[in-house]
Symmetry: C3
Subunit: 142 residues, 3 copies
């Protein structure tokens, strides 16, 4: 993992090594930059992807796995969960025929080429709390 920060370190590009776990690599970038609240963008390609769909009935993630794919889109954020910086990232990936698959980035996404961008929100970070009726921790909405 290598950072390409702005002069004031309020934003940074990030490059991951081939084979690195996507979320692990981005977690290290967030820690090195000392971010607690930030927005995140990712493009590139993955050797394999694991994407989740949160089933609201069962309150659990269904998972889809892929082989080598383009990261057609990656959007996410950094906020606090249980007192620590936490990355929430959603991906759209696409295969050789372009067909697109989307979902919540799970552990097990392995970098081929990853170009990410982090920008801090210079203010109090949102804190994730349990949402009544689901197993999710989200930002309070009221």
């Amino acid at each position: 993992m290598k950072l390409y920060p702005s002069d004031d370190r309020s934003a940074s590009f990030v490059s991951l090594e081939r084979g690195e776990d996507l979320l692990d690599g981005l977690d290290r970038a967030v820690a090195e930059l000392g971010l607690k609240a930030a927005t995140l963008q990712v493009i590139g390609a993955l050797e394999e992807a694991s994407l989740g769909y949160f089933d609201p009935g069962a309150s659990e993630y269904l998972t889809v796995s892929t082989g080598h794919v383009e990261i057609a889109s990656g959007l996410g954020n950094v906020s606090l969960r249980d007192g620590a910086a936490f990355i929430h990232l959603h991906l759209v990936v696409s295969g050789p025929d372009g067909a697109a698959v989307g979902g919540h980035a799970m552990k097990g996404c392995r970098a081929f080429v990853v170009e990410a961008y982090l920008r801090t929100l210079a203010g109090p970070p949102p804190e994730r709390k349990e949402t009544p009726g689901t197993a999710l921790k989200t930002w309070p909405a009221s």
Copy 2:
């Protein structure tokens, strides 16, 4: 709807309540922040989605509706339309098998969990004007 603004209010995270209309909730965030020109990112999930494809022949939107989906990606902007702040948002959503559907966010997208990010463009906002040959109001390109 709850704002998580930066100290200088130039950017903000936004969390919507379950069941809120996506565009209505984001409109209220834009109004409360006083934004006229901004960029927008959204991830999360929707109880249902309504996505449009602008048919250039018929000059009207074709609409696709879904059940519960992940917001795999949401990208948009705020600019002026008929003198008022206007949100233009495109979404990619994905279902239990990950299959991705994209388009223009229409009224009728209902929040399950919505985590949005708005950042102002500190300058004159683009103003939407009618584009000859279509029913769309877009930013003049020359």
Copy 3:
């Protein structure tokens, strides 16, 4: 192509003319803004799209072409390649039934309506270098 820059020109909206090549138009915006390192977001629609999947075995792009589509998502960056500013852009596009196709934006994407956003990274730009084992030039990751 028309720019809608912020007062300090650190960010800008961009509108492309109907029929303009997407990458050519964005290249002109990057040149006019004098950007060397920036993040990029795009929404709108294309008269036709050409999207690539980098096949890691053959070390070449497979290409998918489409007719008129929505740009459901466009995410990218600007950095240095062979000493010059270079745009790397990934797209998710969707047709009349919403079905989404993703990949690397190639020459031959023709604008219908394009609303882009560029924000500079005020710091040393990443420089693309050949990645051993592929035909790609990427940001060194260590």
